[in-house]
Every structure is written in C-alpha cells, then in structure tokens.
C-alpha cells in the first residue's frame, strides 16, 4: 500500500515545498517500528543474517567471518529472487548523480547487501529514526527477563541443573506480584502483554524495588551489574523518549551511556544476546541524536496514537462495511486538519 504513494514521495523530494515564493527541500525521515522499517527498506529483518539497516555486518561479527564475507560474499548476494531490475532499483533511487561515486559507503547498494528485495521509498539509512518507543519497551522487558535469568543461573550453580526452572517460575510470579503491588503497574493486553508507556518509566523510577527483591538470591557481581545497568538505563530512557531538542552535553552523555550499557550487560551476563534494538541503541542512536538533536521528537508516538483514535471513532462514521467506514473516517480526518490543535488552542478559554 505504500507503493501507491511512491510517486507522491518522489515528487515531494524532487520539488520540495513552496513557502512564500521560496522552494525549500524536504528531508524524508522514516519513522516506524523495526519490522515496518525492514519492510520498507527491503531488509529481511531480525531473522536475516545481516539485520542491521546500516552496516554490512553479520549478527555474530568476528574477524574470521568478516574475512569470509569479504572473500565469498553473504547470503544476500546469492539470493536468486533478486532480479537485475530489483538490484538496480535502489541504485537508481539512491545514487543519482554524484552519489554513484560513493561505492562502498553507507547508502550505496553494495552496502545494503542484506536487502532481499528492492526498497520502497528512497530513504537514506541515516534518516531512519531509531524507534525510541519500541526500544524503551523492549529494553525494559529485557531487564525484567534478565532478573529471572540471573535467578535461574544462580540456582543452577548452587542446587544443580534440576532446580533452575522451578526457581525461575517462582521468581517470575514474585516479580509480577511485586510490580503490581509496589510499583503499581499492570501489563497491557496487547504488545504481547508488555508494559508500555508510562509504566515503563515507573518501573525505571522504582527499579530499586526490583533490585531489592534480588538481594540474597543472585550473586553479588550479578546484582551490582544489574543495579548499575538500571541506573544507566534510567538516564538513557529520559533522553531517548523526550520530545524536545536535547542539549549537546546531554547528547555526549547519551553516547557514553549507550556504549557502556551494552558492554556491561554483555560482560555481566554472557548468555545475553544483543538484539537489533540494543544494537541500534548502541551503534546508531547516538549519531541520530547528535544529527537531529532529538530522537523522541521523531518517534512513532503519533503513529501509534492513530490506532486508538480509529478504534474509538470508526463506529461513529457511517458505512455498511469496514472499508466504507474507513473511507468516511479518512475524509473526516482530512477535513479535521482545518481545525487542528492550534486552532482549538487559539479559541480555548
């Protein structure tokens, strides 16, 4: 369905926007969740051998693998379904004019050898928003899982391999009760039963409650690293989700914290796998923050809000079928842009 808008996007990027007789260029930024980004770019996603949208890098990067990739290419190079037209489509869109000279640089077709099919819009990889909303939810959920995993590792080392599963189940129930009674958050019925939105911030603010529940149940090294990881994450998430222009010094702290937190987690918990979100957080989010000045400002919050708005308002619009109701909703929302938030704020008492 995005394919139908491609001519409009190309026209917008080519012609820009006319403002008071001056033509201003348009910078298109891709802002949606990770699955949608992979879908738009043509990447195979988290299951691909090269999950990252930016660099030619395998999931388990090593020097030997890098040498092998350079010598024999990756799986993406051997995809049979990639036709010549598909292979050159991205090149035609991305590397027009002088951009053709940048062979091997980010944004060039060779660099995006992980693409399994042609990208839909020509969005430069550097102009992809780093999914702040979903990163916050994912990392928050990963921290809670990590607490259970530490319990299981500790019980496995003390009581033997047969007791870790039972210990993990018990602590999971204890953790759920703790979050409900003391932290006062509850998981949602969607997003896989995760904590979303403000609840994630509440858990981060009261992370000492979770850490206190681990005392005496995990090793001291694990507990210290876990507490430090929470403290670093609490600093990161405030910068990551704040929809304002971040000062330069805070951006510098964000870059340092993003590198430290992934290193700390991997060192203290070797069984922990670096997910694409953690990879984006460590490697690409600081650069995006320094470039645009903010990550939360470009987040997908506005897109997610439309789900709730459509669910509440669709029944108010006439239509025999879902398609007709959706069409009526679309027309009404097109008219409603004339009375936006600024208009209502101007006339509010």
């Amino acid at each position: 369905m995005l394919d139908t808008h491609l001519p409009q996007i190309d026209s917008l990027l080519r012609d820009g926007v006319w403002v008071r007789g001056v033509r201003r260029p348009v910078r298109l930024i891709l802002g949606c969740d990770y699955a949608a980004q992979c879908n738009v770019i043509g990447n195979k996603g988290a299951s691909a051998t090269l999950p990252c949208l930016h660099f030619l890098r395998t999931r388990s990067s090593s020097e030997k693998q890098t040498v092998l990739d350079a010598a024999f290419g990756t799986v993406q190079d051997l995809v049979v379904g990639r036709t010549l037209r598909e292979a050159t489509h991205f090149s035609n869109r991305m590397a027009a004019g002088s951009a053709m000279l940048m062979v091997g640089q980010p944004g060039t077709p060779r660099h995006h050898s992980s693409l399994e099919r042609r990208p839909l819009p020509a969005v430069h990889p550097r102009q992809i928003v780093r999914i702040p909303l979903h990163t916050k939810q994912g990392v928050n959920h990963r921290y809670l899982l990590l607490a259970i995993e530490m319990i299981m590792v500790q019980r496995n080392a003390i009581d033997g391999p047969l007791s870790w599963r039972h210990a993990g189940t018990d602590f999971a129930e204890e953790l759920v009760q703790l979050l409900h009674e003391k932290v006062r958050v509850r998981p949602t019925s969607f997003h896989g039963g995760l904590f979303i939105g403000r609840d994630c911030h509440t858990i981060g603010d009261l992370s000492d409650v979770v850490c206190a529940a681990l005392k005496g149940k995990v090793s001291k090294d694990h507990l210290d690293a876990y507490e430090r990881a929470w403290s670093i994450w609490n600093r990161i998430r405030r910068t990551l989700n704040r929809a304002v222009i971040i000062p330069a010094d805070e951006s510098a702290f964000f870059r340092a914290d993003a590198a430290v937190i992934v290193t700390l987690l991997k060192r203290s918990s070797p069984w922990l796998s670096i997910s694409p979100k953690l990879h984006i957080l460590m490697c690409h989010a600081p650069a995006c923050l320094e470039c645009f000045g903010s990550i939360g400002l470009y987040g997908e919050q506005g897109l997610e809000a439309w789900h709730g708005r459509y669910g509440q308002s669709a029944v108010k619009y006439p239509g025999a079928t879902e398609l007709e109701r959706a069409a009526a909703f679309m027309r009404a929302m097109a008219f409603a842009r004339e009375a936006g938030a600024d208009v209502l704020a101007r006339h509010s008492p």
């Binding site: 808008h5 298109l28 097109a334 936006g340």
Partner: protein, 537 residues
C-alpha cells in the same frame, strides 16, 4: 470638631440604616468579642458600702483603711490590733459604721500614704499587692510592638492611667469614634456583662478603657466629695462634662450612686444589644455598600487584617508568664530535595494559586483556566468545517448548537454557508480521498504537505529544526551531503522541511495506517498535527 463630625455621621447613618452602626463601632465590638474578657473584679464597690463618714466614725484615732487608687474602693490594711478591733466591731449592731467598715476586705498595701498621699477628705491612698502586680505587668506591656509585627497599629498610651497594652485597636478607629458611642462599645460584651466588670478591666484594658480612666477617677472623686457633704450640684456643675462624658460612665456613676443609696446592689446588664449588629447584618450592609466611604476604608482594612491575615504574619511574638518574649519567624525549607511528577505538579499549582492571589488576577476556574468570555467565536468557515468533522457531529447537530449559542450572535455560520464551505474544502487536492480495494488513501500526499507547511508559516507556528554536523561521515569525506540529492531537487543550502513517514499495523480491529508528520511544529506527534495518509482495514 472631630467628635462633632463623627457624631453627625453617626446620626446620619442611624437615620438612614438604623440596624447598622458605624464601622468603628462594629470593629470595636468585633475586637472585644473576639477576646476573652477577664473578670478581674471579684466584688463590686456596692457590696461594701462603707463611706468616708463610716470610716471616720469607726476609727476615731488611727485610720487603718485606705482607698485604692485603681478601683477607688475602701480597703483595710492588715495592722497589729486589727483582729481585736474587728471582733469588737462585729459585736455592734449591723449597719453601724464600725460593723460596716469591719466587713471591708483586708488586703496588704504595697505603696502607702508616703507615696500616694491622701485625698481631699484625708483618707490615705494606697495600692494593694494584687493591683500592684497587675500595674507592673501593664507597665511591661507598655512597650509597644514593632509596627511590622503587629497586625494593627498600636494604640497610644495614656499618661496617668492604664495602658492599652494588648489591644490592637486602630488609631483611625479611635479617632472616628463618636463620644456617645465609645463607652457603649466598650461596655457591651456579647456575654452578660456588668458595668463594674468593664470598669475593672484595669491593666489589660484597651485604649478606650485607658482613656476612660481619668474621667472615671474624676467621677469617683466627685462621688466622695458628695458623700462627705460637700455640696455639689451635679446638674448645675457638670452640664458641659455630661455632654462630654460617655454614656457608660454616666451609667457607671448612676450605678454607683444607686449602690450607695442601697437601691440596687446587683450588677445591671447593659441593655443596648441592638446597637451592635450581628455578623450577618454587617455582611449584608457590606454587600449593599453601606460602608463604602473614604473613612471606612482603614477600618475595613483593619478588620480584614485582624481576621483574614492573622495567620499569615511572617513573625509571631509570644510572651511567657515570666515576661520573656519569644519571637517565632516563618522559615521555608524544602522537605525533599527531589520530588516526583505528581508532587511537583501540586507544588506548581499551589504556586500558581499564590501568584494569582498576590497579583490580584481575576478568579480562575479549576485547573487554572479562566472563564470563557462572552465574546462571539471568530472561527473561519474552513475551521468550522474541520470542527464538525473532527468531533464528529452532523450538520443538524451543529445547527442546534449554533441556535443554542445565540444563532447569528454566536459567530457560527448558517447551515447553508457551512455546506458551501464544505463543498469548497473538499475540492482541495490535499483533502481528496481515493478509495481502493486495499483501503482509502489520500489522493496526493505532496499536496497535503504543501497545504500544511504554508499554513504553519502563516500562523507563525513553523519551528526550524536545524540539522547538526553529521558524525557518521567517514574521515576525509566532510563534503558528504546531508540530504540525498535527487535530480531537480532544491539546493541543499536552504533549510529543509522535515517530514516523517511511518507505517504500522495495530489497533482493534487491526488496521495498517500510514501517517506523515511535519516535524517543524510544536507537538508534531499529536494526532491533530499529523496527516493520515492511508488506512488499510
């Protein structure tokens, strides 16, 4: 002159609004009624009706009685041989001068004849011990509080009499006090009050009592002279004094003379309750703007300060029984260095309320919003079309709202005009919707953004978002363009307009939405500021 004016003003008010006295009168009543009146006088002069003649007949030689300079009662000084004399005097028939004098209270005397001298009849003067202690306390209270610490200006002390130590009565209140009303105001106490009790307010009395001290003393001297047989014609000798003498003093003297004549020994309740209004009457009078004159302003301020602002003083001064004064100052200190969001919001709300109160802004409705004004709305036709679509309401419902708000006066256009405007808006390229089998979508995304950005410019809502130096540029390639250049695209030297494009599936029922956002505005992630490009149910 001032009293004459005050009396005239009082007469005018009394004629116009009979239940409402002057403001000073109400203020004084309020002042006195808000404080517990100590009952210092445990017995009255009428109870011991010994006269100077009785004393002269009872003590043929040395006189053991003396007259208190404070309450002017005759008291006995404990002396050697007095017990034997009292036993002798009680054997005499009741009513005889020695028997009457023997019933006088025996109290020690701190300052005697050598200090205070004798009166005109030769009776020694004195001050018994309890009175002396009260006088000392009154002298300590004589030191006035600093003006900044007192809610009201302190009354000036009266030389030779009691000192108004703790009565914070406004000088303006005293100056405006009519001569005929002042004693009435002092003597009227909400509870059952006697003239004698008020007269014995001694050292804790107000300025009014202090002012009355001299007059009362002169009246007592006059009574003593009358008892001694000195011919004083009160009707002839005090015509001018009677006009100046307050009514309560006249009642006091009448009560004293009545006691001396053994006609009425019980205290008489003061019978002028109608002169003092209740709080309800005063507030009613205040609402009908009876008290709106220039002279009433300081009194109203004094009342407001005494009642409303008594708890907001920066310093509180308390005096212990031993005379030590302790000063308590208000000090603000943060209870917690770091508070959370909800508590911080409460603090901000409290600060806003305080600021609104201090700056004198008009009363605000809840959540700090002011009440809507009665001016008509100034919505354009397109804005009205958008409002009808966003709510959503039907055109019939919109017309009902328009009629309810006053029709044409509401500023909303008629139904026919709204239909025309809606038809006109629907012809814009950015508003047209194409329905495909996969779902509805905007006919032109570029046109929608082209409409939105100049509109932000016109409303002065466009926010520039400069892009900083790009750190991802490899070393040696500083000339890397920040924006991918397309053939025919505008030069990158211009500041760009940032547009995000997102696609996501979610909601219940699950649908795929495509949303575009112009970042260069406040709150770009608000749904009202985004553009719904496509919808796939």
């Amino acid at each position: 002159m001032r009293r004459t004016l005050a009396r005239c003003r009082h007469d005018e008010i009394k004629k116009a609004h009979l239940p409402f006295p002057t403001l000073p009168l109400f203020a004084a009543w309020l002042h006195w009624s808000s404080r517990t009146v100590p009952l210092y006088g445990s017995f009255s002069c009428d109870k011991h009706r010994a006269t100077i003649t009785d004393i002269a007949q009872a003590f043929r030689g040395r006189i053991w009685a003396y007259q208190c300079v404070d309450c002017h009662r005759l008291l006995l000084k404990p002396t050697a041989g007095m017990a034997a004399w009292q036993e002798w005097a009680r054997t005499l028939p009741p009513g005889s001068p020695p028997a009457v004098v023997a019933r006088l209270p025996v109290v020690p005397r701190k300052q005697g004849e050598a200090t205070l001298g004798r009166d005109t009849s030769g009776t020694p003067r004195g001050l018994y011990e309890t009175r002396c202690a009260r006088r000392k306390r009154a002298a300590r209270r004589k030191t006035p509080l600093p003006a900044a610490l007192s809610p009201l200006p302190t009354a000036p002390s009266v030389a030779g009499g009691c000192v108004a130590a703790s009565a914070p009565t406004s000088p303006a209140l005293l100056s405006d006090l009519p001569a005929n009303d002042a004693p009435t105001r002092v003597s009227v106490v909400p509870r059952e009050t006697t003239v004698g009790e008020v007269a014995c307010e001694d050292c804790a009395a107000s300025t009014l009592a202090a002012r009355l001290y001299g007059e009362r003393e002169a009246d007592a001297q006059h009574a003593l002279q009358h008892e001694n047989g000195l011919s004083i014609d009160s009707s002839a000798a005090k015509p001018a004094a009677a006009s100046e003498q307050p009514a309560a003093d006249r009642r006091s003297s009448q009560a004293s003379s009545a006691g001396r004549d053994n006609h009425a020994s019980m205290p008489t309740p003061v019978a002028e309750p109608s002169a003092i209004p209740s709080c309800r009457q005063f507030l009613d009078g205040l609402l009908v703007e009876i008290y709106d004159g220039f002279q009433d302003k300081p009194v109203l301020e004094a009342i407001a300060n005494a009642i409303l602002l008594c708890g907001e003083r920066p310093e509180i001064q308390l005096k212990n029984k031993n005379g030590r004064v302790r000063l308590y100052a208000r000090q603000l200190s943060p209870r917690k260095d770091l508070v959370k969001i909800s508590q911080a919001n409460k603090h901000r709300a409290a600060a806003r309320r305080l600021q609104a109160g201090n700056s004198g802004h008009r009363e605000t409705a809840r959540r700090g919003r002011t009440r809507p004004s009665g001016t008509p709305l100034c919505l354009s036709m397109a804005e009205q079309v958008g409002l009808v679509a966003a709510l959503p309401i039907s055109l019939t419902g919109f017309n009902r709202w328009r009629l309810a708000l006053g029709g044409r006066r509401s500023g909303l256009d008629s139904l026919s005009a709204l239909r025309d405007a809606r038809r006109e808006v629907s012809l814009l390229p950015g508003k047209q919707v194409v329905v495909t089998p996969s779902g509805p979508r905007l006919a032109s995304l570029a046109a929608a953004i082209q409409e939105r950005v100049p509109d932000l410019y016109d409303r002065d809502l466009f926010v520039e978002q400069p892009v900083r130096d790009f750190r991802l540029v490899p070393a040696g390639q500083a000339a890397h363009p920040p924006v991918v250049a397309f053939p025919g695209s505008p030069p990158s030297s211009e500041r760009d307009v940032q547009v995000t494009l997102g696609l996501d599936k979610g909601g219940d029922p699950g649908t795929v939405k495509i949303v575009a956002t112009v970042i260069n505005q406040e709150h770009p992630n608000s749904p009202a500021n985004t553009i719904l490009v496509g919808l796939c149910p």
